[in-house]
């Protein structure tokens, strides 16, 4: 579609230790373009000092998460036409509950570290996606567990940004890492020490926004609840001496 919309873009800016403020830009852009396209155009043609995160532009890297009109979005797959109308405003802010580097950039490496701690497998056999309703998409090939795929979680941080528990306590392990631990499968002693704590699964207060904003089928809230059940049944069995901690297969 060659039609272009006239938009008012408000971008949160922050350099160094100064207080954040908003800069305004006028932009002509197609409604079929993405919000990330808009940000990139502002950077390329209007203000090259704008810092923003991006890499793959097709929802596999997780680098371009931002708040768009107050709602967490993965901007490379968010169409302009879905967030505003011709003549409208788009307000861009960085994700919450993560360290702000500058402007629209947050540091996702604390999330990466937590995912490593809970041993979330970044690539895993295709059939192994237990625990939550797994919508089968197209026909699957013969059930061959030797196929692998990169995990759903792209470590984008949208879930952390929207979580009210993460807002009040930075020590909270967070929806992404807890979901990651659930996907890891066996909850061994090491992972238990992280998730079966007051800052682990028990800190969640069922807001469910993490599952809503996840662009990648992870459903963190559901996984947290499933893991609570798992942890409880493990505790009960340990109490009756029926099992010790799970040993992780090496």
């Amino acid at each position: 579609m060659s039609q272009k919309w006239s938009l008012n873009i408000e971008v949160q800016r922050q350099k160094g230790q100064e207080q954040p403020h908003f800069d305004r830009f006028d932009l002509e852009i197609s409604p079929d373009a993405t919000v990330l396209d808009a940000v990139e155009m502002i950077w390329a043609f209007k203000d090259c000092s704008l810092c923003f995160g991006h890499a793959c532009h097709h929802s596999t890297c997780g680098a371009c998460g931002m708040r768009v009109n107050g709602v967490e979005k993965l901007t490379c797959i968010t169409l302009i036409g879905d967030v505003t109308q011709n003549g409208g405003t788009i307000r861009l802010q960085p994700l919450r509950n993560l360290p702000v580097v500058s402007d629209l950039v947050v540091d996702l490496t604390p999330l990466y570290h937590r995912m490593a701690q809970v041993k979330h497998p970044s690539v895993h056999p295709i059939e192994e996606n237990k625990g939550v309703a797994n919508q089968q998409t197209a026909q699957q090939g013969e059930s061959d567990n030797s196929y692998t795929r990169l995990a759903d979680c792209i470590e984008c941080g949208l879930c952390i940004s929207v979580c009210p528990a993460a807002m009040t306590s930075p020590a909270y392990v967070g929806p992404a890492a807890l979901a990651g631990a659930h996907l890891a499968g066996v909850i061994d002693q090491q992972i238990c020490a992280i998730v079966d704590t007051k800052n682990g699964v028990w800190r969640c207060h069922s807001a469910y926004e993490c599952s809503e904003v996840c662009p990648s089928h992870v459903q963190p809230a559901h996984r947290i609840m499933q893991m609570r059940r798992q942890l409880l049944s493990q505790r009960i069995r340990r109490f009756f001496g029926l099992q010790t901690f799970h040993q992780r297969k090496q």
């Binding site: 373009a33 396209d37 810092c51 991006h54 793959c56 596999t60 540091d107 197209a138 795929r149």
Partner: protein
């Protein structure tokens, strides 16, 4: 003795892999990048870990390099890969004729290719068009672009390399006909600073020409050559699907996570910083994809994106280390010391490019240090420390 200092401009695949190699060779490495990791052509790559099959007929040297690096990366960077192999499929007579040349060429390049029964191919990949006339397996794989770059960056960082992201090079510091370092501005604060180096490595991809011009060398002409790729919201295949014929537009479908990505096209532009997505190209890609996987017609489009390959203009002088990329020592091309430019290449061969660049830099500085990146185990991409990179 002080470590030799290297400043690398650009943190795409080339920059990250070169930082890793030089750090292992005892260099004090600083990577300066005006955006985040892999935000240029590297991030937007198709994500295909080439087996070399695509180059076997026309460029054997490139094909051999591909398969070697493919096998290395499967071992070193398994965390970023979907290692499900690939299929080359023939859809018409022209494809079948090509097949004969192709299988022989692959054999010569040591690329393991095996013909499979059409019925078996369709059992493996039920969404593949039933109209295929022949199918061959090949060791293609899918990689995650950002995470592959981060893997090299994290390893380099662990060995002392410093990444300065959101830091733009504003100029090169030149004294007595030699580049001594770079002047750069930290975009997160607005503060400028100077970084000194024994050698500056220009690994800025599509912007290599602009950086070279800062040194007064206008002979490096990089033609940004973008291509469009379209991602669909269903994992319609598990293996990479290639069209068995001369490399052309829209002849590869790469699965990744719960998507498939069809690519790509090739056209020239002037403006590098922002390249819009052209709707007619997206349509063309969709049509090409439907030829291979008819179910794409009913699939929802998840995104369309442009990646600008940095191709070297043919008028550019300079010795090329290999046909797959070009490495320029500006001392030789223009009498300007302290600067090396590396550009071109593909993601699959990032480690090999870095090896040859590092060899050039070492030779230039009279340093004997051999490459260790073939064996050195890469760290997890999750070990990358933003703390140190986002000063």
């Amino acid at each position: 003795m002080d470590k030799p200092k290297a400043v690398i401009i650009g943190a795409g695949f080339t920059g990250c892999a070169t930082a890793h190699d030089l750090a292992l060779r005892g260099f004090d490495v600083t990577v300066v990048e005006r955006g985040p990791i892999a935000n240029g052509a590297s991030g937007r790559t198709h994500g295909l870990l080439h087996s070399g099959g695509r180059y076997a007929v026309d460029d054997q040297e490139a094909a051999i390099e591909c398969i070697e690096e493919n096998l290395l990366l499967r071992r070193l960077a398994a965390e970023c890969l979907e290692q499900n192999g690939g299929l080359f499929v023939a859809l018409n007579e022209s494809d079948l004729e090509y097949a004969h040349r192709w299988t022989q060429s692959c054999e010569r390049c040591n690329i393991p290719v095996e013909q499979v029964d059409i019925k078996q191919a369709l059992v493996w990949e039920p969404n593949l068009t039933p109209k295929i006339l022949a199918a061959y397996t090949i060791p293609d794989a899918t990689f995650d672009p950002l995470r592959l770059a981060l893997t090299f960056a994290a390893t380099a960082q662990a060995n002392g390399a410093r990444f300065r992201l959101f830091t733009e090079v504003e100029g090169l510091i030149e004294r007595n006909g030699k580049i001594q370092g770079v002047r750069c501005q930290d975009r997160t604060t607005g503060k400028s600073s100077e970084l000194y180096a024994d050698c500056v490595i220009n690994a800025s991809g599509a912007w290599a020409g602009k950086i070279a011009q800062m040194a007064g060398d206008t002979t490096i002409v990089v033609k940004p050559t973008p291509g469009v790729m379209v991602a669909y919201d269903q994992r319609l295949c598990n293996r990479v699907i290639n069209r068995l014929n001369e490399p052309g537009d829209g002849d590869i479908i790469v699965p990744q996570r719960r998507m498939v990505v069809i690519g790509t096209t090739s056209f020239e532009v002037d403006e590098v910083d922002y390249i819009p997505v052209f709707e007619d190209q997206v349509q063309m890609m969709r049509d090409c994809a439907i030829q291979l996987i008819p179910a794409v017609a009913a699939a929802r489009q998840r995104g369309a994106f442009m990646a600008a390959r940095p191709l070297i203009g043919s008028s550019t002088s300079g010795r090329s280390i290999a046909r797959t990329f070009k490495c320029f020592d500006h001392q030789e091309t223009h009498g300007i010391g302290g600067l090396v430019t590396i550009t071109g290449g593909k993601a699959t061969t990032l480690r090999a490019m870095a090896e040859k660049t590092a060899d050039t830099v070492c030779a230039k500085l009279g340093i004997t240090a051999s490459c260790q990146t073939r064996e050195y185990p890469l760290r997890s991409y999750r070990e990358f420390r933003g703390n140190d990179a986002y000063h």
